[in-house]
């Protein structure tokens, strides 16, 4: 009954170079504007704040001056074997067959939050209240992503709407919609990052940057031992950062290259 790891022709994935992230939050700002995430009066309670893309500050656990810090942006991992999809009672979320993006159909969602309880990455967010755009902020709503009412779960979709729009653009220009260039479909966070820390593309397409990067000896994924097979890879040349990507017993070695494509 446990979900199988699904393989598709395309596999949209992300590679985040942690050695280049300054934690500035430009990606988070872009994400919100792109996806019509409603603002909140107070977002200091991070357990109630909608951050489809959340930036963690990691520590190597040592004292000053040996201490080292790294910022880790965490979008939805778009797991190959998602914890959330199997558990949804109403099929409001599914592993998309067109690139393996885990969708969230908010009009179907009944808000039981079982998917949130299942996700070890906390990538899912519940609309505790109705969204509110004070003043004229609703004027800035993008037509590409629907607004969500209270009582439903939402999450990062790898800006799936951009993929749909890119395909339509290709059709309108008599091009093959399934053979678009890497640059035609980029997530909002990836294109925004001033440091170029976020790469996005088809993990299976050798022409795409993420394909090679995901096979780097410095690549790792979060909580890989759970078997979720995330489609988001992280890169760091620092061993302690890679080790923080998963739970290890003290006597276990880490830092081995991961090749699981």
């Amino acid at each position: 009954m446990a979900g199988e790891i699904k393989e598709f022709e395309r596999k949209w994935g992300m590679v985040i170079d942690l050695d280049k992230c300054t934690g500035c939050g430009a990606c988070v700002m872009s994400c919100q504007a792109e996806n019509n995430v409603a603002p909140q009066d107070d977002a200091t309670n991070k357990l109630r704040a909608h951050t489809w893309l959340f930036i963690y500050r990691l520590s190597n656990g040592k004292q000053y001056p040996e201490h080292s810090t790294v910022y880790l942006p965490r979008p939805c991992m778009q797991c190959g074997k998602p914890t959330c999809v199997e558990v949804c009672p109403v099929i409001a979320t599914e592993k998309g067959e067109d690139g393996g993006i885990v969708s969230q159909v908010t009009p179907r969602c009944i808000g039981c939050r079982y998917c949130m309880a299942s996700c070890p990455y906390h990538a899912r967010y519940f609309n505790w209240f109705d969204p509110h755009w004070p003043g004229d902020l609703a004027e800035a709503l993008s037509p590409d992503v629907s607004t969500r009412p209270r009582g439903v779960v939402e999450k990062c979709t790898f800006c799936h709407h951009r993929w749909m729009l890119a395909k339509d653009k290709a059709i309108a220009n008599n091009e093959d919609p399934l053979a678009i260039a890497e640059s035609e479909y980029q997530t909002s966070c990836a294109e925004t990052c001033p440091n170029g820390a976020i790469y996005f593309g088809d993990l299976k397409n050798p022409d795409h940057k993420v394909h090679q990067l995901s096979q780097s000896p410095f690549a790792f994924r979060l909580l890989e031992r759970l078997g979720t097979e995330p489609q988001v890879y992280y890169l760091s040349k620092r061993e302690w950062v890679r080790r923080l990507g998963d739970n290890y017993l003290d006597d276990e070695k880490t830092g081995q290259p991961l090749r699981k494509l």
Binding site: V15, D17, D19, K20, C21, T22, G23, C24, G25, A26, V28, M29, S30, Q32, A33, E34, N36, V37, P39, Q40, D41, A43, T44, N45, K46, I55, R57, S59, K62, Q63, Y64, P65, H67, S68, V70, Y71, D130, P131, P134, G135, D136, L137, A138, E139, A140, L141, S142, P143, T147, P149, S188, E191, T192, C193, P194, N195, G196, Y199, L213, S216
Partner: protein, 688 residues
């Protein structure tokens, strides 16, 4: 039997109802209703366009693309076609679209009534008041500009000069201190930082990846020199008290206490001199004497540096082909000229000053209008000095003050005495996009069109490595009754019969374009950044002596040091915290309405405080309530607090979110240069 008959009738009714679509369609309709609740805004479709322009709220002049749908501004994106940023976007520039619509925008001209409240008035009436007040004040007027990189400053300053006043001021910025340092050391133009060509960048105190200079460009350079899948082509070293945004990606972090940037710079100079660098430089003997006290021992004591890392850096600087030393304050301003002078001297010793990949002498901006003050003159004006003198009664307060997107009340420490200065001025007029702290004390508040609604430009912002110019153009009609301040001033000058030599803002910008050789029309259309390779040669420079020696005598804080941490995402004094930005304020920066003070375990142990404890930070200047958060990436004896919090005006996203760090710091004067310094401060941690 009646009852039984009725029961049958009812049963038939139920069967009939169940068999009809009534119940089932209603169930569906109810669900559809929940999917389209009327109180939740609906999306509006339309055709998309992307217009290239430049961010006017991001001090680094980030190029942007504005997305419009059906003529409405939706959001800003990075502009991949512009090689300044190559598509990158700072968090502040990312919020520019939403800022058009916030509640804190000033919608109509407001006039303060005698009871202190504000009345909405018409633009005609507002213009009448403007005219009357300006005419009455004559030369007794002053102007504060919140936008240091705009050519509009020439317009405003010309207007001021035409009225007979030279009191033109800028909001706090590092530019003033840097230009001073540059000038003192023989620079003929403006200091430029050729980061692109450098292969070793040592940043002393300057948070170059977050808030110093042309951030989007700095970060693009970092991106290109630090490829993910290849060896880096530039080494980035950061010296500062905390693992901030720059330190986390830098290749080496050299901890140094806040306020000791100049000492570290001198220490580096001493080390370079002792290794025989700069022998042929003029004044090297004198300079050798000046740097003599800054031994490694002293650096360890005063800056808290780690000797091995210090030596690695010296070696790195010596071995690099095109090393660059630059300096700035952790706050982005208020650090004085001494650190920058020391950095310039270090570059001279390295033999790189004026060369590729180092500090270069960019041309001085020429005036667009004959009447305007010269660049150096305008940037030499010191608002702190002006304000303090007025407060002390050593100077007569002007009768009239214009503020343009400026919020000095928020942006300076209390003892800059801005409040007293404002109180002493008869009439204050604010052109502002947002309801900020200073506007809330002005007599006339005029809604200023924002950067996306007006013609404007960004002309060689501080931190640039070359002379550059980007045109900002209106992508949408000004919302509400906002008007471009430049046009209002031109109209006012006409009314008063003053000839500024310009008929409207675009023609001012055209003359700027012509002056630097850009084709206005071309850049209006493509929205790109025009750049020139103009620079002065470097034979005018000389090693600093007297002034630097004097500047180095400025007071150094002891005890627990306060380290302000400036992050762009939280907005600027003139924007407040943008609507979506509160999500990027981390829980180690703000907790509910309390500012968070970060320190390491060792400091906490010394102070006998624990994680999560509420304490007061106190200085002679004031105190703020904070909650302690432990963070090991910070030097022992240093408390870091995020700047940009603690607004009392703007909207729900800014008001009462933490405390303003400037309530703690205080201004003191740098010896020799006379520049105000306020970025460093000692602080007391008071329990209970």
């Amino acid at each position: 039997m009646e009852r039984r008959g009725f029961l049958k009738f009812a049963l038939g009714g139920v069967v009939g109802a169940v068999a009809s679509p009534m119940i089932w369609t209603t169930l569906y309709d109810l669900a559809y209703w929940t999917q389209n609740w009327g109180w939740i805004p609906r999306l509006k479709k339309g055709d998309s366009e992307y217009i290239a322009t430049v961010s006017k709220i991001c001090p680094g002049g980030t190029p942007i693309l504005v997305r419009l749908v059906g003529g409405r501004v939706i959001r800003t994106l990075g502009n991949p076609a512009n090689d300044i940023s190559e598509g990158g976007l700072t968090p502040l520039a990312a919020s520019e679209g939403q800022l058009l619509y916030t509640e804190s925008r000033i919608k109509r001209p407001l006039l303060r009534a005698p009871d202190g409240g504000y009345r909405v008035i018409s633009w005609e009436k507002a213009e009448g008041i403007l005219k009357e007040k300006t005419r009455a004040a004559k030369e007794s007027c002053a102007f504060i500009s919140g936008d240091a990189s705009s050519s509009l400053n020439d317009l405003f300053s010309a207007f001021l000069v035409a009225n007979g006043s030279l009191d033109y001021f800028f909001m706090p910025n590092e530019q003033n201190a840097a230009e001073k340092a540059w000038e003192l050391m023989g620079g003929r133009g403006r200091v430029g930082y050729d980061l692109e060509k450098s292969d070793y960048v040592l940043s002393i105190g300057a948070n170059i990846m977050e808030s110093w200079g042309t951030v989007a460009r700095n970060r693009k350079i970092f991106k290109n020199t630090h490829p993910t899948d290849a060896e880096r082509t530039m080494t980035l070293v950061f010296a500062g008290a905390m693992q901030n945004n720059t330190a986390v990606v830098s290749d080496l972090w050299l901890p140094t206490l806040p306020g000791t940037e100049a000492i570290l710079g001198m220490g580096i100079c001493r080390e370079l001199v002792s290794r025989g660098m700069g022998k042929s430089l003029k004044g090297i003997e004198e300079f050798t004497k000046i740097v003599q006290p800054y031994t490694l021992e002293m650096l360890k004591l005063e800056c808290g540096i780690l000797p091995d890392r210090f030596h690695t850096i010296i070696e790195g600087l010596l071995q690099a082909k095109r090393p660059l030393v630059l300096a700035g304050s952790s706050m982005g301003h208020g650090g004085g000229a001494a650190p920058i002078m020391a950095a310039i001297a270090a570059n001279m010793l390295l033999g790189r000053l004026g060369q590729d990949g180092n500090m270069i002498d960019l041309p001085l901006p020429r005036k667009c209008l004959a009447l305007a003050q010269a660049y150096r003159r305008a940037h030499a004006n010191d608002l702190v000095d002006f304000s303090q003198k007025i407060a002390e009664g050593k100077k007569t307060a002007p009768k009239l003050l214009f503020l343009y997107e400026a919020n000095p009340l928020y942006a300076w420490p209390k003892n800059a005495r801005i409040q007293e200065c404002l109180d002493a001025i008869d009439y204050k007029i604010s052109f502002s996009g947002f309801w900020d702290e200073t506007s809330a004390q002005c007599d006339l508040v005029l809604p200023s069109a924002l950067g996306l609604e007006r013609f404007d430009d960004v002309y060689t912002p501080y931190g640039s490595g070359f002379e550059n110019w980007t045109l900002a153009k209106p992508v949408a009609e000004p919302r509400y009754q906002a008007r471009p301040a430049g046009e209002v001033i031109i109209a006012l000058a006409e009314e008063l019969g003053l000839n500024l030599g310009v008929s409207d803002v675009p023609s001012l910008l055209i003359s700027r374009a012509k002056d630097i050789g850009a084709d206005f029309q071309e850049y209006l259309e493509n929205g790109l950044t025009y750049r020139t390779s103009a620079r002065y040669d470097n034979d005018w420079f000389h090693l600093p002596s007297g002034i630097l020696r004097e500047a180095m005598t400025s007071k150094i804080e002891t005890g627990i040091r306060l380290l302000p941490h400036v992050v762009y995402g939280i907005g600027s004094p003139s924007t407040g915290i943008p609507p979506y930005a509160n999500r990027i304020i981390a829980d180690y920066q703000l907790k509910q309405n309390l500012t968070v003070a970060q320190m390491n375990t060792e400091t906490a142990r010394k102070l006998d405080v624990v994680h999560g404890e509420k304490v007061k930070l106190e200085t002679d200047n004031g105190s703020i309530d904070v909650v302690i958060a432990l963070f090991e990436g910070i030097m022992t004896g240093v408390v870091s607090v995020t700047a940009g919090l603690g607004h009392t005006e703007f909207d729900r996203y800014s008001i009462n979110k933490g405390d303003n760090i400037l309530n703690l710091t205080h201004v003191h004067i740098e010896a020799g240069t006379g520049l105000p310094i306020w970025s460093d401060s000692g602080v007391k941690v008071v329990k209970g």
